[in-house]
């Protein structure tokens, strides 16, 4: 592209600028159009989980349905009620989409095709997450609505809480690969890190689901309590932007998971045909995306205090322990800082896998013990209530049912 522009007679700096700008436009457009298909996929998958068929009227398999919805949402009236903080209200949806599309810049699609191969790609990914928190805060405040503000408060508490385990989980591939560049992490991934460090993948999925703000962590827009949280006052295309941001973010979680833990573009015959890498990445990204949808469709919403407890009392200590153990194993095992092939990587990866399985078993035992104690406590309480003269309140049955 750049060479073509230079041949046309442009100076080198201008040619690079034009080529990069076009690349950014292309990537952003692909991302946004792709979202329309994602919505269709998500509706179809959700329908199957709920024993329905899903959209099936417009076009073959209902493929055109999302296009119709998109056109409808653009044509809707843009309502801005009185008392809105105009600039803040209007910028927030743009920021929320931008924060997600920013991630696409550093994704290595093939061994050669990558927007920018930043040497600090992982830090960049985390920084983009910080921007989405601001977008939600701006939306909540700018709407001048108490439900929106409450939703934004919850959202930011959730995003900040779960940023810690996300960062600690992402540090594990960094430690294993010895690189913070996403391309570097994929290159070093001779054995998928998901196989070497499954506990990290679990932590990453849970923390990412919380950062997404979808069920089971959708307390920031809990319909029964907050109407729709921070997006309650938005209509038409601005609501559509939030919607696009959410769906695209869900898919991007699958994409980042594929890059960090499933080997990115790695696969058979990629050395001969680099474009094949994009296909592998595409297929792998759907593993993470499907897991996100799966959890969303099957797990009920958590409460605020449960969300904070899970984050601070369970995931943060666990991810700290996990990081220390992985780093220790990787340091102690000889020759791990110069791994160049699958055969060299398989030894330490197996050791890591065994250690991971031991950790998972340990965590499982601790959780089972905690659950048993909690159940006994509630049962004892209920027995005491049944023996007692008066049923004090309806607290006990609700508590026991939990």
């Amino acid at each position: 592209m750049t060479d073509f522009l230079i041949d046309l007679g442009l100076s080198r700096g201008l040619a690079v600028l034009i080529a990069k700008t076009l690349g950014v436009f292309a990537l952003a457009t692909i991302g946004l159009v792709w979202t329309i298909f994602l919505i269709w996929i998500e509706r179809k998958v959700a329908a199957r989980f709920q024993d329905r068929v899903g959209p099936n009227r417009a076009g073959p398999f209902g493929l055109v349905q999302s296009f119709a919805d998109a056109i409808k949402i653009i044509l809707k009236e843009d309502i801005m009620h009185r008392g809105v903080d105009r600039w803040v209200f209007n910028i927030a949806p743009l920021l929320s989409v931008m924060a997600v599309l920013m991630l696409w810049v550093v994704i290595p699609w093939t061994p050669t095709l990558v927007g920018v191969d930043l040497s600090v790609g992982v830090v960049y990914v985390i920084a983009a997450g910080a921007i989405s928190a601001i977008a939600i805060l701006m939306a909540g405040w700018g709407s001048n609505n108490k439900f929106a503000l409450l939703g934004a408060f919850r959202a930011v508490a959730q995003l900040i809480s779960y940023e810690v385990p996300t960062v600690l989980a992402l540090l594990v591939p960094v430690v294993l690969a010895g690189s913070m560049s996403l391309q570097g992490i994929v290159r070093e991934q001779h054995v998928m890190y998901a196989l070497a460090a499954p506990l990290t993948v679990l932590i990453f999925i849970i923390a990412s689901m919380a950062e997404l703000g979808r069920a089971p962590f959708d307390i920031l827009e809990a319909e029964s309590e907050l109407v729709a949280g921070y997006q309650v006052e938005y209509s038409g295309f601005k609501f559509g932007l939030f919607y696009v941001g959410e769906f695209l973010h869900a898919y991007t979680v699958g994409l980042t998971m594929a890059v960090f833990f499933l080997g990115g573009w790695r696969g058979p015959f990629v050395d001969d045909l680099p474009a094949l890498g994009a296909v592998y990445l595409f297929l792998k990204s759907f593993i993470g995306y499907f897991i996100v949808l799966w959890i969303r469709m099957t797990v009920p919403r958590v409460r605020v205090d449960q969300m904070l407890d899970l984050g601070w009392k369970f995931l943060v200590p666990l991810s700290l322990l996990n990081l220390v153990v992985v780093a220790l194993v990787w340091k102690i095992y000889p020759g791990t800082d110069s791994i160049d092939s699958f055969s060299e990587a398989i030894g330490p990866s197996l050791v890591l896998l065994v250690v991971n399985i031991l950790m998972i078993l340990g965590v499982g035992a601790v959780l089972r013990e905690q659950g048993r104690r909690e159940r006994e406590r509630i049962e004892a309480k209920q027995r005491a209530l049944e023996l007692g003269a008066e049923p004090v309140s309806d607290v006990a049955p609700a508590g026991a049912g939990r």
Partner: protein
């Protein structure tokens, strides 16, 4: 000065940084002030990136925009009557004096002004090669320097102990007193509802402290 793409980008980021900073102190709306502060900090991150320090740029966004600015916004939102109060006081003269003095100090170090006035050894006397350009893998150097006993290990550990103490202190401050322990814990509340406001307030400082 030759107008390259780099200098254009530098001008843009300087404009964002300075303009954002100016708007922080002139805007009447505190919440807007906090947002402009974020913009200004973002400009600084851009300047870091331009100085081939991408790690600092990323950390600038994560820590200053993602944690500290959000902490400031929380403080603003928890202030009652935030939009009604006039956030101005009579310290602008003092602020102006401090700003001018600070600027003069920085300018005298960075520019060769003091050398020309005849003061020896005051200015930093930067040249094309001094300070030298940032090495390619500066992150690895940074990491090694932090755990090298000959270099920054002690300051690094002292800083981490300080943050740990702040974390424990924050937890202690929001810890419910003994009478509250007798009362049913919030987990046992039957209805799926908002946590009581004091609890929500209480959790926030802990969250943000640990971010730093």
């Amino acid at each position: 000065m030759e107008l390259t793409v780099e200098s254009l980008v530098f001008l843009l980021f300087s404009l964002i940084t300075l303009g954002g900073g100016l708007l922080v102190v002139t805007t009447r709306n505190l919440f807007h002030g906090a947002l402009f502060l974020m913009l200004s900090l973002f400009g600084v991150a851009g300047l870091f990136a331009l100085l081939t320090a991408p790690f600092l740029a990323g950390i600038q966004v994560v820590v200053y925009i993602g944690a500290i600015a959000i902490l400031i916004i929380f403080a603003i939102m928890l202030t009652p009557q935030v939009t009604a109060t006039r956030p101005s006081n009579n310290q602008w003269i003092a602020a102006l004096v401090v700003a001018v003095v600070l600027f003069a100090l920085l300018a005298s170090i960075v520019t060769p002004l003091m050398d020309e006035l005849g003061v020896e050894g005051w200015g930093a006397s930067f040249t094309e090669t001094d300070p030298p350009p940032v090495p390619e893998d500066s992150i690895a150097d940074l990491g090694a320097a932090f755990v090298d006993p000959q270099r920054f290990m002690l300051p690094f550990e002292v800083a981490s102990i300080l943050l740990m103490a702040a974390l424990v202190g924050a937890v202690m401050m929001v810890r419910p007193s003994r009478e509250d322990d007798e009362a049913p814990a919030p987990v046992e509340a039957a209805e799926v509802a908002e946590p009581a406001p004091p609890r929500a307030d209480a959790v926030e400082p802990v969250l943000v402290e640990s971010q730093e």
